[in-house]
């Protein structure tokens, strides 16, 4: 089976990553009770013999060797040491090898699968739209597939479950952005990732948990056996019809939280219909009213192909698929269910509704970008005046600045390698992406005429 | 010398081709001098060859058996088999069962087996075995031509397009037939190759044996060097043997006569007569011996007197005469003086026997006398007349 490397970037990334490893360990422990280092484990963990000073990797071999010390196949990246060192102090420290920590990213991956957390509409970091858009450009060009996740959606989900669990906190919003070539300017409310007891629950732990579960379910078919295996490559292959349109809407059923594994198991068919309701999505969007380009169903547990097909038949009439992909369903069956549940379903859809989300992002970006220089100048003037201890009122200075000054740009342009042109290019890239999605969506109600088939002269 | 070595090597090659374990020519030479290093190899060789004689093949069962049986078991087995085939050498039978010594005897045994057991012939017989694989042969019956005609012609008139299709079909049929023919040809080639391989092996073996047959002489001549016997000794041995046989014949007829006489006259015989008889026999024997001694002063012949012994009869009077053959001629040199000693001891022994017989006779006589008396007293009007000898 394919072996994957998880790259956790930034504070948010690292925290989500930790939840993922925590849960992955738990999942594997449930399945692999004898502690044998076998194929499934090797897809995400290395078996390391730490008796040596330079810990040596033990390969899977005949599949019967015992687990010595599992190290995650992960790379932890952050500009600041803070989060990462916290992780290393926490309960998961043995899972990570100190050599896996790097503070410099040199990224060329074969298959870049990125889970990105997008900021919500109101947030405290002023420059978050810049961060997001700049990152988007990289993602659009370099990554093979992106799963955008909105904090707002996560919060809503947590709240929904939280009605049964008193300790869940609401209201505190968490935001972050994915670090690209830019120094992360985000703030995260505190907390360490790691094995936490119920009493230590922090609000965004539950949210991160959901994301971690998503990752688990996505990779389950690559880690465990099943009658229809699906690995990450296949997901990308089937869900990305055009190179740039690789943003997927994800939704899960049943939903998880740290301690909520005691939710009553849903009836199988119910699980399918839940997955297609807006409440279960990890992004705020409305796929049912937009056009589906492709859809993947990753099923875990005791479910057979006939069950899946039956549900596809039921759901199809309510969903609109693009004309050349009327049967655009990809199925994955993994026989190992998640811990504590008899089965689960992860839906990944490539739907044109994402362009709405991007349009919002674009608008915020443009708003910030076009802000007149007046505010900025005022501040500068204040500084100068205070230096000379002059009251503001007396000054009648006018400054002429060539062109409209962009707010806060200098934070970015002060760094080597970053120029103003990057901003414009990023904006263009985002625009074209939105345009592509919209064009496809227009085909929803009037598909273009089919090209005639090749004729054989007879 | 080199020729001998070559011949022995050829012999080992022949043996090896027929399945025995490899054995070096050097071993043979060591065995001639009764070297202990050669012992085990020869035990093994004998075992394998005996197995071959019994079961017709040397295979992994043989090798497995050799490795699993203990030394003693193997030695006993070999000895037993050799005896069963007719090899009754005492020295061979008395070799220690732990396979520690006696390579010379083993070499002799081997040579005997090679010759007597006609191993080479048996090997040759095995060669001409046919290929044992079961060849599946494809037989084509004589097919009726009419079948073919119907088979591939179209059954109704066709338009040109259909004709083309028909032709394409026929073409395809042709090609597939060719392919199947090719496959059959491949199979035939494979099998022929197999047969060829087997025949080659046989050929090789037969060639070896043919060469061996031509060079056999050298080996046997070398074997004969074991004993340093002068060349005409064979002739002498043969003539001596003939004489012995004649003498035995003569003695046999004499003894048969003696038996008859004893049977008929056993009651009437007296001690003196017995004495006389014995004396005359002794005389006769001494005479013969003197004759022999005169003939072969240089030979190392040595024989003992025919040892006459009378076994005591049981009450019913059945007599068994037992004549032991003179013990075998041994080729060890013995002193002539022993000759005389033996006769004297024989005579004294005979005298003792005679004495014994006399006593018994006397005892028996008295017994019978008393019995007769009793009988006579019991039955009225009967008197007992004693036999004359009392």
């Amino acid at each position: 089976m394919t072996q994957s490397v998880v790259v956790q970037v930034g504070q948010c990334g690292n925290q989500i990553g930790c939840r993922f490893w925590d849960l992955a360990l738990r999942e594997h422990a449930t399945v692999n009770k004898s502690g044998i280092y076998d194929e499934p484990l090797s897809s995400f963990f290395r078996n390391v013999d730490s008796r040596y000073d330079d810990p040596a990797d033990i390969p899977v071999g005949s599949g019967k060797g015992k687990v010595r010390s599992l190290k995650a196949r992960a790379v932890l990246v952050d500009m600041e040491e803070g989060v990462v060192s916290d992780i290393m102090k926490g309960p998961l420290k043995d899972v990570f090898d100190f050599r896996q920590l790097i503070t410099d990213v040199s990224g060329s991956g074969n298959n870049w699968f990125v889970t990105a957390v997008y900021p919500s509409a109101e947030d405290d970091v002023i420059t978050s739209p810049y961060n997001s858009v700049l990152a988007m450009r990289e993602l659009t060009e370099k990554a093979d597939c992106v799963l955008p996740i909105e904090n707002q959606a996560l919060v809503d989900i947590v709240n929904k479950i939280g009605q049964a669990v008193p300790s869940a906190r609401t209201g505190k919003r968490v935001y972050s952005s994915v670090g690209g070539n830019v120094k992360t300017g985000s703030e995260i409310t505190a907390g360490d990732g790691g094995l936490t007891k119920p009493s230590d629950e922090k609000p965004f732990d539950s949210m991160n948990n959901i994301v971690a579960n998503l990752l688990l379910n996505m990779t389950s078919s690559a880690r465990f056996e099943g009658s229809l295996n699906v690995d990450l490559n296949e997901i990308t292959m089937n869900l990305v019809p055009f190179p740039k349109l690789h943003y997927l809407v994800s939704s899960q059923s049943p939903l998880y939280s740290l301690t909520d594994v005691n939710l009553p198991p849903r009836r199988l068919d119910q699980m399918f219909s839940d997955s297609f309701s807006k409440d279960h999505q990890l992004i705020k969007a409305d796929p049912k009213h937009s056009l589906y380009l492709a859809c993947a169903l990753m099923v875990r547990g005791n479910v057979e192909i006939s069950d899946v097909r039956r549900n596809i038949e039921k759901l199809k009439p309510n969903l609109k698929f693009i004309h050349w992909n009327q049967e655009g369903w990809k199925t994955g069956l993994c026989s190992v269910p998640p811990v504590g549940q008899p089965y689960s379903l992860l839906t990944l859809a490539n739907n044109t509704c994402v362009h709405n989300t991007f349009t919002d992002l674009k608008d915020r970006f443009v708003k910030l970008y076009k802000r007149k220089a007046s505010t900025c100048i005022t501040r500068e003037t204040d500084k100068v005046l205070s230096l000379y201890k002059l009251p503001r009122r007396d000054l009648k200075l006018t400054f002429t600045i060539p062109g409209p000054a962009q707010a806060h740009i200098h934070h970015y342009t002060d760094i080597d390698g970053m120029e103003v042109s990057n901003f414009t290019e990023s904006l263009e890239s985002l625009n074209s992406l939105i345009q592509e999605y919209s064009d496809l969506e227009k085909q929803m109600n009037n598909p273009p005429p089919a090209e005639p088939r090749l004729q054989v002269l007879s | 010398m080199a020729q001998v070595k070559e011949t022995i090597e050829l012999l080992t090659k022949v043996l090896n081709r027929n399945g025995t374990s490899k054995i070096k020519a050097e071993i043979f030479r060591l065995a001639k001098f009764n070297d202990e290093d050669a012992t085990e190899s020869f035990w093994k060789l004998l075992f394998e060859l005996l197995y071959f004689c019994k079961y017709g093949v040397i295979d992994e069962v043989t090798i497995k058996a050799y490795s699993e049986l203990s030394r003693e078991e193997l030695a006993v087995y070999v000895k037993r088999e050799m005896q069963a085939l007719g090899f009754t050498s005492y020295a061979f039978s008395s070799l220690p069962n732990d396979m520690s010594q006696g390579s010379r005897e083993l070499l002799l045994a081997f040579a005997w087996l090679l010759c007597k057991g006609s191993l080479i012939d048996k090997f040759m017989d095995k060669c001409a075995s046919p290929v044992e694989e079961d060849l599946s042969v494809y037989q084509l019956n004589n097919l009726d031509d009419s079948n073919f005609n119907n088979h591939l012609t179209a059954n109704k008139p066709l338009n040109p397009a259909q004709k083309v299709q028909h032709l394409q079909y026929l073409n395809g049929k042709l090609r597939s037939s060719l392919r199947r023919l090719y496959a059959l040809q491949q199979q035939k080639n494979k099998l022929q190759h197999k047969i060829l391989k087997l025949l080659e092996k046989d050929n090789d073996r037969l060639q070896c044996m043919l060469t061996w047959k031509k060079q056999e002489d050298v080996f046997w001549k070398w074997m004969m060097t074991f004993y340093n016997i002068p060349p005409d000794s064979i002739r002498l041995m043969n003539s001596a043997r003939k004489q012995l046989e004649e003498a035995i014949m003569k003695y046999e007829s004499v003894i048969v006569q003696l038996e008859e006489i004893w049977e008929s006259q056993r009651d009437g015989i007296s001690t003196q007569e017995l004495d006389y008889l014995l004396a005359s026999i002794n005389m006769e024997i001494s005479l013969q011996q003197a004759n022999l001694a005169l003939d072969d002063t240089e030979t190392m012949l040595n024989h003992r007197d025919p040892h006459l012994s009378y076994i005591k009869a049981n009450k019913q009077g059945k007599k068994l005469t037992n004549l032991t053959e003179p013990s075998r001629y041994s080729f060890e040199s013995k002193e002539q003086n022993d000759y005389g000693v033996d006769v004297r001891t024989e005579i004294s022994q005979l005298e003792i026997q005679l004495q014994r017989l006399e006593n018994e006779l006397f005892k028996k006589q008295s017994n019978y006398k008393t019995e007769l008396d009793n009988m006579a007293s019991n039955i009225p009007d009967v008197i007992c007349i004693q036999p004359m000898s009392c």
Binding site: T2, P241, L454 | K156, R179, A183
Partner: protein
């Protein structure tokens, strides 16, 4: 002794392969009383099966080893299949006849054909050669793969080409699994088009089995409630075994030969343009019902014939309205005509069954000569537990229905160039796509004229 070497590629191919050998062994091991022949004849049958599909040393006590080469781009399935064989206790896969990588093909035909194929070539061909040397005589190759995935389709097509190159005279039969028309893989139509067009050039025959039809057989005939891929695979193997197991074929009157792969191919696919075969098997029952059912040959054969001319894949839901009719002026008929058929009857009273309905020249295309249309085989030894069973391997026009639909969808997708970048990045060009479409349109056109 004509041996068949099986090459299993991809997840589907390997799963089917494992099931196939299991089916063959299970058939061989049925109770003597169920075989309906003398023990001597049964032994002959058993020996023939073991010689064809297994390497079997009668002198040693080792289990028979399948004559198979296993190929996959990730190791899970091969390991699972080998373990299942071992668990059965009746047969094994030979050691070291497996080739796998760690990477997977990602459902991408180009990834399989252009990238993995060449890398795997040397190793896999070595394994194939090794297997061929174990046989006295190679009757042909049976290749198992699915059309929808990346490995089975892409690597499978590549391997097929390599085998053809190295054994130019051998007979190659590809068994291809047609995916469900919805729900398995989104790019399945592309993969199928590419695979079929390439296989058509290198293989002798393609036996097509559709998941949709097999699914119906499972649900309607065998009453399986929760149908899994394992159930479907069992049906596939049952159908394959029913014409691969030994049966004497009547080539000419009073002259029979064994149904080796060569003989079958020679009869079915002599015409180079027509290589698609379908298997129709009757009866299909759940194991529990088998012992309680008896059939008459008359009934079975009547159903089978109607299945043939109406293009039905199973014995229920046949359209009895379709009858053998005359040709329209344009040369077509309302019923499905065949090029050639192979009919094998197994079980009780085979010699009395009347198969003349299958020799009716009207059900065959006009330019086929009488001698070449129907080849019959009768095997008194029963198959599996069926007292009477029949199989029809058929080269007929009914195959192109699904093919046509599939090409339509693929073409539609291709017109918008959706997903094409995924293929081009691995070395396939748009022209290759077009070439494949051309090949298959030609096939459809040919078959339509039957």
């Amino acid at each position: 002794m004509m041996s068949v070497i099986t090459i299993q590629v991809g997840q589907c191919g390997n799963q089917i392969g494992g099931q196939l050998f299991q089916t063959l062994i299970d058939d061989v091991n049925i109770k003597q009383s169920q075989t309906l022949v003398s023990p001597f004849k049964n032994e002959e049958y058993k020996e023939e099966v073991l010689n064809r599909f297994f390497t079997y040393d009668t002198t040693s006590s080792e289990l028979p080893k399948a004559r198979a080469v296993m190929v996959d781009m990730e190791p899970k399935v091969i390991a699972q299949t080998c373990a299942n064989a071992q668990k059965s206790g009746k047969w094994l896969y030979p050691e070291k006849q497996q080739f796998c990588q760690q990477k997977g093909s990602g459902n991408n035909w180009a990834h399989g054909y252009c990238v993995h194929g060449p890398v795997a070539q040397e190793n896999v061909m070595e394994l194939v050669q090794r297997e061929a040397e174990k046989c006295d005589n190679v009757s042909g190759f049976l290749s198992l793969l699915s059309l929808a995935g990346g490995t089975g389709s892409g690597v499978g097509a590549f391997i097929s080409k390599c085998v053809r190159d190295e054994f130019p005279h051998a007979f190659i039969l590809n068994q291809v699994v047609w995916p469900y028309h919805t729900g398995e893989v989104i790019v399945q139509n592309y993969n199928a088009v590419l695979t079929l067009s390439h296989l058509y050039r290198t293989a002798d025959a393609l036996v097509v089995m559709e998941n949709d039809s097999l699914h119906k057989i499972c649900s309607q005939l065998m009453n399986i409630k929760k149908i899994s891929f394992k159930d479907i695979n069992k049906v596939i193997c049952h159908q394959l075994a029913s014409f691969l197991q030994p049966a004497p074929l009547e080539k000419f009157p009073d002259f029979t030969i064994q149904n080796t792969l060569g003989e079958i191919m020679d009869h079915m696919v002599s015409h180079p343009d027509y290589k698609l075969l379908t298997v129709k098997n009757i009866p299909h029952m759940s194991e529990k019902s088998i012992e309680f059912s008896t059939f008459q040959w008359h009934g079975l054969l009547k159903h089978l014939r109607q299945m043939l001319i109406a293009g039905a894949s199973m014995e229920e839901g046949i359209d009895w309205q379709i009858q053998v009719g005359t040709e329209t002026p344009r040369g077509s008929t309302s019923h499905y005509r065949s090029l050639a058929n192979l009919l094998i009857l197994r079980g009780k009273e085979v010699n009395t069954a009347d198969t003349s309905a299958f020799t009716d020249p009207n059900i065959y295309t006009p330019w086929m000569p009488t001698g070449g249309t129907l080849l019959q085989g009768r095997q008194p030894r029963s198959f599996y537990q069926y007292e009477k069973s029949a199989v029809l391997l058929s080269n007929s026009r009914s195959t192109i229905g699904p093919l046509n639909t599939m090409i339509g969808k693929a073409w539609n997708m291709f017109s918008s160039r959706a997903y094409v970048h995924q293929y081009t990045k691995h070395g396939l060009a748009e022209e290759d796509f077009v070439d494949s479409f051309v090949t298959l349109e030609q096939v459809i056109s040919n078959y339509s004229k039957l």
